[in-house]
Amino acid sequence: MAERRMHLGVFTYPGGHHIAGWRHGSVQPQEILGYDYYRRTAQAAERGKFDLVFVGDMLAAREKDGRVIAQGALNNIDSISILSAVAGATERVGLVATLSTTYNEPFAIAQRFASLDHLSGGRAGWNIITTANDDAALNFSRKSHMEKTMRYQRAREFVDICKGLWDGWEEGAVAADRASGTFVDTNKVRELDHKGQFFSVKGALDLPRSPQGWPVMVQAGGSPAGLEFAATVAELIFAAQSNRQEAIKFRAAVKQRMPGHGRDPAILKVLPGLLPILGSTEKEALEKETMLNELLHPAVGIWMLSEQMQFRLYDYPQDGPLPTADIRAGGSAFTPRVMHLMERADREGLSVRDCGVLVAASRSHGSFVGTPEQLVDHMKLWLDEGACDGFNVMPAYFHDEMDLFVDQVVPILQRRGLFRRDYEGTTLRHHLGLPIPCGSGR
């Protein structure tokens, strides 16, 4: 039997995904917001035949007590801007941008993604988020963040409207008949007339149907509400499980829910984040990891931990044990990631500082330290056991670690029949084996 092939994305980031990655000597930190920085990443991804380049979205600064974190890196700058800029410098690689349904209007977002799909020749994807951090509300004239269930209800309606708008133009609606003067065959343009709980939208986009019909629908986030939303709309999930058994359970859980929404589970692709730290020997890789963790300012780790646990750890001794009893007594609704970390801290007696390093080093996604051969074994195991359909690679720092992956890991994956040797199509849907939407708004 032919090996199941994996799908690869790269998650770009200013500096790198290890929170101290930007301090690595090979990084030119003044250039991490410039065009060439992103162009280089996208072109490396295309050289490595990656399925896609991924950019996240945050709508508030990283802060502690009302001030930006001095040692913390930035989040991603605007995703659509980055990906449209690199679209012209690449030909095949998919471009997945993140935009929030909580702080946008569907008409504008449908138009924006249709535009990205047109100008990239069918390579656009939309990572649909509802924005998890409360601070964003304060930048959008709202007193408080919308409650989670409401956010997902709004997201579903938002996405339905976008699909209706994308399907408003039939193929061939642009007649451009010079003799008769008919530019648009208006019989082939259907106006949407939507009235719902959150939105009323009437009209048609100012753009014909884009090459993919709809951008690839991507989702990230593993809460119960997020999981149900993913089962309803997602074709690709950017997952965050760092534990294989949990990843298997998560993927099965989403797939199990899909038929209930009239969807074929076979199309779903789940790509967990993976932060590799590579060396030509295991020892070299471990030394690289140690070096990076030494660059990590302890204050950053404790800040990230406090944010994730919604619990202030600043006044606890850094070398003392993680105060899991106090944290649990705080009564927050913990994410599976946080629960997992607290269990591990109890079991292994981890200190506050240790936990901070763990969280900050990989931003709580999966990481792997070793040689390229070992990494491929690890990736194959996850794939074979049904923990994933591939990975969203999160280089510790750009560009050296990305180049290392492309030049040393990808060839092994290809040799072992686990990854494509070349692109076989031109659209992101083709790379991912996804169907083209039929055009009926569903």
């Binding site: 930007w22 040692q71 930035l74 800029a85 138009q111 451009a176 530019f183 208006t186 014909p208």
Partner: protein
């Protein structure tokens, strides 16, 4: 004299698509080609996304009313050009200042400081059905106030990072200086925004604010607080002189230097080697579709056009022009290949780019952060 060009896929005459060599819908390709042509001519900027026809006209299907979102289009052109400024229209009717500031700060970083935001309103006729929201202004006066506040908040957000805020000192491990990154704590009539922005200060300090024209009166008085380039469509030199003087005096009333404002006259151009040929082209186009009654337009030879621009400029009617090529690529090619060299010979436009930012091209100063000591 400042020269800009507004781009539309086929051109600005409603019949352009019926005679242009460009296919019915060709995606971004015509924009890339036109921006590169304009850059060859050393123009200050190309402007993207300004509407070519109102919704009611577009809906009838007889004009090319297709509109690629100008924001990704600006993004794409960053990689396709090196020096020319890139202006993108983002109608402010329903926009949020944090989004506008974040996107344009990003674009300005990616473009090395070549971007400008074209601010303005699409109006209720355009948006009423598409975005139905009870919290949006229902009259023009309110909408103008919202727009002015939105621009002000976006500018505050760009200022929220001082130049020294983005430290990235690798050896010390200091990424940002919290003392130089400020919440803005804006609480206004339409917006409450805490800030700071989560993108460091744009290369230009603030991307250039280009403003669609606003009729004289309260709305213009408000717009003059922020507008750095006014995109107007005066019909005569006298009208232009009066409007320019008004904008400048209103800017001064806001405590600004009058020379920090560029009043730019927009004009459709139909050009040909002989005057007779240009007139014939115009007649042929008009026979296919009636031209927009409100548009100022010029029909003639490149030499006549150069003389016309020089005359307006010498009269103090404007600080420059936004040329709307009637048909692409021909009218833009003639502008760049014939009109621009004539203007250069007269010493009216520079012979090449002498700066790297849009502010530099326009002769506008870099914006300093209001938070800087």
């Amino acid at each position: 004299m400042h020269l800009l060009a507004s781009l539309a896929a086929h051109g600005w005459h409603p019949a352009a698509w019926r005679v242009s060599s460009i296919a019915g819908f060709a995606g971004a390709a015509p924009f890339t080609a036109a921006a590169q042509t304009a850059e060859r001519g050393g123009l200050d900027a190309v402007l993207l996304g300004l509407p070519t026809a109102p919704l009611a006209v577009r809906a009838a299907g007889r004009v090319d009313g297709l509109r690629l979102d100008p924001l990704p289009l600006v993004g794409l052109l960053i990689g396709a050009t090196r020096r020319i400024g890139l202006g993108g229209y983002w109608p402010a009717d329903v926009a949020e200042p944090f989004h506008v500031a974040r996107v344009f700060a990003t674009l300005d970083h990616l473009a090395g400081g070549r971007t400008g935001w074209i601010a303005g309103l699409d109006g209720r006729a355009e948006l009423a059905a598409r975005v139905q929201r009870p919290d949006l202004p229902t009259d023009d006066k309110e909408a103008a106030l919202r727009l002015a506040e939105l621009i002000d908040v976006a500018r505050q957000l760009w200022d929220s990072w001082e130049d020294g805020g983005f430290v990235v000192d690798q050896s010390a491990g200091t990424f940002a200086d919290p003392e130089r990154v400020h919440p803005i704590d804006h609480a206004g009539r339409f917006f409450t925004v805490r800030g700071p922005l989560n993108v460091p200060r744009p290369i230009q300090g603030q991307p250039v604010i280009l403003h669609r024209d606003v009729p004289a009166g309260d709305a213009r008085a408000g717009a003059a607080a922020n507008a750095e380039v006014v995109l107007a469509q005066p019909a005569t030199i006298a009208e232009a002189k009066e409007a320019r003087a008004d904008w400048r005096s209103l800017a001064v009333r806001h405590g600004r230097d009058a020379d920090g404002l560029r009043y730019v006259a927009r004009t459709v151009a139909i050009l040909a080697e002989t005057e007779a040929a240009a007139v014939r082209r115009a007649a042929e186009l008009d026979a296919l579709a009636a031209p927009d009654a409100g548009a100022t337009r010029f029909v003639g030879t490149p030499a006549q056009f150069a003389a016309h621009l020089a005359e307006w400029h010498a009269a103090g009617a404007c600080d420059g022009f936004d040329i709307l090529p009637a048909v692409l690529p021909i009218d833009l090619d003639l502008l760049v290949d014939v009109v621009v060299p004539l203007l250069r010979r007269r010493g009216l436009v520079r012979t090449g780019y002498d700066s790297t930012t849009l502010r530099g091209h326009l002769g506008l100063q870099r914006a300093e952060s209001r938070f800087a000591a």
